[in-house]
């Protein structure tokens, strides 16, 4: 068939069953168009056909005959050839479409996976309506999902692009600045990876192609709890085009993997136990994905069903079947402070309430993908978007039975992680198949598989008992938590530890007692997810604070201010806070912003103008979150900085860029140390051969730990260069000045290229490696410093509840975050927006439903993350109480802003209509039921 593609006529044969997106990506190697779901839900595959935005994953290629197709690669007015695009950044910059430029300048690009789809959708809109209002933009982008959720920035970018297209006025970047910026640090910079992301040039794992590459698929159990009785792979093996079918019996080394405990079978063998529906039984490598899929259907399995353990409270009951040899209790976690009985005795009021939170899914838009291949030297290379490349390497090597040095993990761009890409997904399976076949193997999860397999957020049951004096002073808190860690441990113990230690809230609490039971069940495993257990605890505690405030007739802000952690406070784990506690200021600032918008009491219900049944009110919540691993775990990161022959400073660490902006942070830090423009610094991440171990990208630790490592490495190199040059040019080292790409000394000015040569001449290596160890911490139970830093936040949310239907809309959110120091304010803005929207999803839109171990929400159509339509107005206030050992005072921010949003919303719902939400997510039916007092008939 003939068609126009990006303005040029082409002739191409559509294949049977081929969608437009496959034709573009496979036949034409145009990988800028992304596949997030392959079920017409996410919008990431959006392209333009005859002027209209369509979903290329649900558009038969054959239908494009005679039509005019535009993809992200064809958007720029100077249609560049692929070579020009690769080689000439300057040309690319100049030829950007205004929408692409606006997305970059407005910081709308985070992980970047959804961005081609966003831009194409926006393009279709602006071509029809170059002056859209907010409503029109929301309407147009409704189903183009961004899990990094920089929706406000996306909206602003689309507006700015429209203006540029109409008037030709250049696009101006929004101005964000730290309160005390340094030369580089604290000013807003464009992320270095943004350019590639807006033109579709960024390579995510699925975008890679190798010659003779096979496609792999995994046979999943599909039953939650059973013993495998028979597994017959013969027919699958015989299918033409199938190169290998492997089962547990084929594993050369260690049979299990895991981040802390090796309890997760790589493949479940005959006679062994299936513990969750996503368990792998066999893996297939074939010439095509279709053949591999067909082979899965030929694999015959027989199970002996076992009783299913479906919730953590049931799992704790001694009569439940044991899922693991050691029983169902992964860990009993305890916090003890003071004398709880005494604390309750001192109270004038003691209240108790039980809360429930559901399972949640990360729903990063990029599904998991791994590619394995053997190098000619016989080493195994794994290409994967992973949050912990070195842990991947270790687990892969163990299962292969190889020394670690023979395995190289090459981190690719990650289309969103949020904690969901810390565990092994397909890395080991791909490696096993490559080892067997000798050929490169790609293992791409489809969305269905992604929903079933990777660890989720822990569902919890949290009972809180709180005591307070009449004046509002807290005297004691007792909490009991059950956490559902699902079928495998993953990071369950650590997540639930964080939930437990944060279950007294960021308050001065003389007496505290907490007991948490992290339990195995037959649900999909649970592990790290932005917030890391604190999300659940915060919901319970912050709801409790409002319940208490109401009974005591104290203002919700006042009761928090009265009890807030401050300098000199001791936490419930016995840590004395000596610095960097900005909670009071967060509370203060959010309160004044909220009150400036309101005449009366913001917590009193009002009706929406002209609609009596729409009730509005504000709700308030605070939170804190540790930075770093803590609890006595050694927390270190290594980074290397090198001056390259082209005069560019390269910084290297294995830490991962998951959209959060680490690349920018590292670039700014090195630029700051050398007083040079960030454009003179290059960042290389996530390669176990080339980059030193930065540790896991988790616990909001990378800015702090890898940031420090990069900073120290830069200082060491700085010093080495200064002393070398000082000696040679005979001047004191402190008179060697670095300035914008130059070194000045003794009246000379040397460009960095020359500095490189000088270093070489002197036989000094222009490179420094620094292994940074974060301040040591103490294990839980020992008192002392459980964490080296905490970030603090306060939020207020204004909601509107429809008393007729129970529907809840969030209108406004005011956020203040104490981040220590805003290193890159533009990036921070994106993290805050994304966090708030994720918190909103946690409260209102997301519900991962598992029944008797079976996943009901097994398609993206059934698991709904917030879209731009649900996004409220977000007002972000940055508070900077520096922490001494953080880089320039910075502490973690990645998780913080998502934590207090949920209770701020549910407290607002209570204030608006008097319905207390103690079960997440909010059920609108339950709201109407309580308001209208109708009963629920079981059918």
């Amino acid at each position: 068939m003939d068609l126009y593609l990006n303005g040029k006529p082409i002739t191409i044969d559509p294949q049977p069953g081929e969608m437009l997106v496959d034709m573009l990506r496979e036949q034409l190697a145009l990988t800028g168009t992304k596949v997030g779901c392959n079920e017409a839900e996410c919008g990431s595959c959006t392209v333009i056909v005859d002027g209209e935005a369509v979903l290329a994953c649900a558009y038969p290629a054959a239908r494009a005959a005679g039509r005019n197709v535009i993809t992200i690669e064809g958007l720029s007015p100077l249609a560049l050839s692929p070579d020009e695009m690769i080689e000439q950044d300057e040309l690319v910059q100049k030829s950007l479409h205004p929408i692409q430029e606006a997305f970059i300048k407005h910081g709308a690009v985070q992980c970047g996976f959804c961005i081609p789809g966003q831009i194409m959708t926006a393009y279709a809109l602006l071509e029809h309506d170059p002056d859209p209002d907010d409503e029109a933009i929301r309407h147009a982008l409704k189903d183009t999902l961004c899990r990094c959720a920089g929706y406000p920035s996306i909206l602003n970018a689309v507006k700015a692009a429209g203006e540029r297209m109409r008037t030709g006025v250049p696009i101006r970047a929004p101005e964000f600045q730290s309160s005390s910026p340094l030369e580089v640090i604290g000013n807003s910079y464009i992320r270095p990876d943004a350019l590639d992301k807006v033109i579709g040039r960024t390579k995510f794992t699925d975008d890679l192609k190798f010659e003779h590459m096979l496609q792999a698929r995994v046979k999943r159990a599909g039953v939650p709890h059973a013993i495998v009785k028979r597994l017959d792979i013969e027919k699958a093996r015989q299918l033409p085009g199938v190169l290998a079918v492997l089962t547990a019996a084929d594993i050369p080394g260690e049979k299990k993997h895991g981040l802390v405990i090796y309890d997760w079978p790589v493949l479940v063998g005959v006679g062994e136990r299936v513990r969750t529906v996503g368990d792998a039984l066999a893996i297939v490598a074939a010439e095509s994905r279709a053949i591999a899929t067909q082979a899965l259907d030929l694999i015959e399995v027989e199970f002996e069903a076992q009783p299913v353990v479906s919730d953590p409270v049931q799992a704790y009951d001694g009569s439940s079947p044991a899922i693991h040899p050691g029983g169902n209790l992964l860990k009993h976690i305890k916090v003890r402070k003071g004398d709880i009985e005494l604390g309750f005795a001192e109270a004038d009021l003691v209240l108790e309430h039980e809360f429930h939170t559901g399972i949640y899914e990360h729903a990063f838009i990029e599904p998991e993908c791994s590619i394995a291949r053997l190098t000619p030297e016989g080493r195994m290379e794994i290409y994967v978007g992973s949050q912990i490349p070195y842990a991947d390497r270790n687990q892969i090597a163990r299962v292969l039975g190889w020394p670690e040095e023979k395995v190289r993990v090459i981190g690719m761009m990650i289309g969103g992680g949020f904690g969901g890409k810390e565990d092994i997904a397909g890395q080991i399976h791909a490696a096993l198949l490559t080892e067997r076949t000798g050929r490169p193997v790609k293992l791409l999860f489809d969305r269905h598989e992604s929903l079933l397999v990777h660890p989720k957020r822990h569902a919890t049951q949290i009972r809180i008992k709180m005591g307070a004096k009449r004046d509002g002073r807290l005297t004691a808190v007792e909490s009991e938590l059950y956490g559902d860690t699902g079928s495998y441990a993953s990071l369950g113990e650590k997540v639930m530890t964080r939930a437990t230690t944060h279950s007294a809230g960021p308050y001065e609490m003389p007496h505290a007692k907490a007991d948490c039971y992290a339990m195995y069940t037959n649900n999909p495993p649970a592990g790290a997810f932005r917030g890391f257990g604190v999300t659940q605890a915060c919901f319970a505690v912050e709801s409790m604070m409002d319940i208490l405030a109401e009974r005591l007739e104290i203002d919700p802000v006042e009761i928090r201010r009265m009890n807030a952690l401050r300098l000199g406070s001791t936490t419930n784990t016995g840590q004395e806070l000596r610095e960097s506690v900005g909670l009071l200021e967060c509370i203060q600032q959010v309160q004044s912003e909220m009150e400036s918008r309101m005449d009366g009491d913001p917590f009193k219900p009002r009706s929406s103008p002209g609609a009596e049944h729409l009730r509005r009110a504000w709700g308030f919540a605070v939170a804190y979150k540790n930075t770093g691993l803590g609890g006595g775990a050694p927390d270190k990161s290594a980074a290397e900085v090198e001056l390259c022959p082209d005069g560019i400073l390269e910084v290297r660490t294995s830490s991962a860029e998951i959209g959060q902006g680490l690349v920018t942070v590292l670039q700014l830090i090195v630029a700051q140390e050398f007083r040079t423009s960030p454009a003179n610094v290059r960042v290389l991440l996530s390669d176990t051969d080339l980059t030193p171990d930065g540790g896991p990208t988790t616990a909001s630790r990378q800015t702090y730990v890898s940031g420090n490592a990069a900073r120290m490495a830069a200082q060491v190199l700085h010093q080495a260069i200064s002393s070398t040059l000082a000696e040679k040019y005979d001047c004191p080292p402190q008179e060697v000045h670095f300035e914008e790409g130059l070194v000045r000394l003794n009246g000379n000015s040397l460009p960095m290229e020359e500095v490189y040569l000088e270093m070489n001449e002197e036989g000094r290596s222009p490179r420094a490696l620094y292994e940074y160890w974060a301040p040591s911490t103490d294990p839980l139970g020992d008192g002392g410093n459980m964490h080296f830093a905490y970030s603090f936040a306060a939020q207020a949310a204004e909601v509107e509840v429809d008393t007729h239907t129970g529907e809840v809309k969030v209108l406004n959110v005011i956020v203040a975050n104490d981040v220590g120091k805003a290193l890159n304010p533009l990036g921070l803005q994106g993290q805050v927006e994304g966090g708030v929207v994720m918190g909103l999803g946690n409260a209102l839109t997301e519900h991962f439903i598992v029944e008797e171990g079976r996943v009901i929400t097994d398609r993206l159509a059934r698991y709904r993350m917030p879209s731009i339509v649900q996004t409220p107005q977000i007002h972000s206030i940055v508070i900077e109480h520096p922490t001494q050992d953080g880089p320039y005072g910075a502490k973690g921010v990645g998780e913080l802003s998502s934590i207090p949003t949920t209770p701020a919303i549910t407290n607002a719902i209570y204030n608006a209509v008097g319905v207390r939400i103690d079960n997440l997510p909010v059920d609108q039916e339950e709201i109407v039921r309580q308001l209208n007092k109708f009963s629920k008939t079981a059918e």
Partner: protein, 289 residues
């Protein structure tokens, strides 16, 4: 196995019918069909015949006393059409809520009807608008009242492999007539409405002279609440009337509990809310001429 082997872009009705008789399946926007094949709800067909290029299926025009909307007109064209906006507000409102813009750019009204789901938004609106469906097979063409078209969930009188929906005839709106559509969704879970409702009414002074009412899901097929319509005729809008209509409606439709979506009681409650809303909106609109 590929999702299909042959893909035919039919240019005319006879061509499409030939393909159908050879065993091909009709595809319009594909936003229902392709997902069902991909997700294994339907087996992969040998051949698909794409009907979106057939001029007759793409026309949207006035024919005599009716507005004709081709079965292959994409929903976004329906939403943007002046003709439809003027004559069939309920349909505009319903179509504008289906999917997002990308889905609406390919999805069609024909697909929405032929899929025969009890709460498809376009279907519910068309029912209240008293539409007739034109279909064609090798035996010739026929006109069926929309209500008669449905046999059960995913099951209609349109004979698979034989018959093609060509389009829909909607009576043109006269003075003092108007329609409205509303639905309630649940933010979590399946993208199907908890309840949707469309009304068409004719005003005479301060009374409702005539009314059509449809809601879904209210049974195995999309349906009109005929008894409730009777109660509306000749009455003034009042709280008492709404209570009464609601009661009568509950007797003739079956509002059920769907797991993870809504209980029957919630639906019963919403039925009254929607009833009041759509009646008031349509009433207001009808008073504007």
């Amino acid at each position: 196995m590929p999702l299909w082997k042959n893909y035919y872009l039919a240019q005319s009705i006879p061509e499409a019918l030939t393909r159908l008789n050879e065993g091909a399946r009709v595809i319009a926007g594909g936003t229902d069909l392709l997902l069902e094949i991909q997700q294994g709800v339907q087996p992969p067909p040998e051949s698909l015949v794409d009907v979106c290029n057939i001029p007759e299926l793409n026309s949207l025009e006035i024919r005599g006393k009716d507005l004709f909307i081709g079965a292959g007109v994409p929903l976004n064209h329906i939403v943007a059409s002046q003709l439809v906006q003027e004559n069939s507000q309920a349909l505009v409102e319903a179509c504008n809520l289906i999917g997002g813009p990308q889905v609406r750019n390919t999805a069609t009204l024909g697909g929405n009807i032929a899929h025969a789901l009890p709460a498809a938004d376009g279907t519910i609106a068309l029912l209240a608008l008293d539409a007739q469906a034109e279909s064609v097979s090798s035996e010739g063409s026929r006109i069926t009242a929309l209500e008669e078209l449905f046999l059960g969930p995913r099951h209609s009188r349109i004979e698979e492999n034989q018959e093609l929906l060509v389009g829909f005839y909607l009576p043109l709106r006269k003075n003092s007539q108007a329609s409205a559509f509303k639905r309630v969704m649940r933010p979590q879970g399946v993208a199907l409405p908890i309840l949707n409702m469309a009304v068409w009414l004719q005003r005479k002074k301060d009374r409702i002279a005539d009314a059509h009412l449809a809601l879904g899901p209210s049974g195995p097929t999309p349906l009109r609440a005929r008894m409730a319509e009777n109660v509306l005729r000749g009455e003034k809008i009042s709280q008492t009337l709404i209570e009464k209509v609601h009661q009568v409606m509950l007797e003739e439709v079956h509002l059920r509990t769907s797991p993870y979506r809504a209980s029957a009681d919630y639906r019963t409650h919403l039925a009254k809310i929607l009833l009041q809303d759509v009646l008031e909106i349509a009433w207001e609109r009808a008073g504007k001429d």
